[in-house]
Assembly symmetry: C2
Homo-oligomer: 172 residues x 2
Amino acid sequence: MKNKGYTQVYTGNGKGKTTAAIGISIRALGAGFKVLFVQFVKGQKYSEHKALEKFDNLTVKQFGREGFIHSKPVAEDVEQAQKGYNFVLNAFKNDNYDVVVLDEANIAVYFKLFSDDDLIKLIDAKPKNCELIITGRYATQKIIDKADLVTEMKDVKHYYTKGINARIGIEK
Amino acid sequence: MKNKGYTQVYTGNGKGKTTAAIGISIRALGAGFKVLFVQFVKGQKYSEHKALEKFDNLTVKQFGREGFIHSKPVAEDVEQAQKGYNFVLNAFKNDNYDVVVLDEANIAVYFKLFSDDDLIKLIDAKPKNCELIITGRYATQKIIDKADLVTEMKDVKHYYTKGINARIGIEK
């Protein structure tokens, strides 16, 4: 990839953060780029994983438990997140991904699985040409200051308020 | 698709609206759903089109010119948009798509290629089980009122302000 790579952050309480990161990956794959899609906190298989398997140039890695974190993380959450953190650090050193997605990395920070200073170290460790995409609610001010592009997905209206659960193929 | 289908709107001045719609399509395709991805206003081939070709269950259609609309639409913009509008209306009647994306439909309304009342008629014409995704800046209040879910992508910080042009595989 000949472009200089930037750091993009997708945060906020609205729907569309992870799906935007998937869309960015698809666009990059269409251009022949090599993409690493890392999911923190999430360990569950989602519908998109099946579709993403089609792409040889894409590596998907999950570092989280199947269940959600309820109020407090357990030891395994911390272990998984740190394993993921080191995996990405290593990938920055040894592989030449054009685009790297850190899905829910802001949530990992929110649950103190690693700190925002750690996340900034990761941003600093990325190869110059690599485009880095960070998603998740609650991006800290330090992360916002560090990023080149920040989009806040703002929940204007949500049908969950009508009592709809996550649906296969739509929300998961 | 067994779910009841809702209408989702992604609007606002931030990056991530079209990419979120692509991500939603990928998730739906992973679940085995049939997806129609219609782009209004845009006629240019983007990197994502190449990646999306991999999916037999996905139909991508563009109804726009290659160039952007500068301040005022030309006759061909109106023709193309109305052709697209009728295509979608027809698809709602005769095909059984589980997910239909109307990318930049809000922009088509903004440029008066069709009205928001027309777009509401289209929403009303969708099969009950079909999930409808509408993207584009400047969603009108009528569209917001009509939708089940609205996310505003808010531009918090953007590297375009640093003078970066659209890059292949990242923005286009």
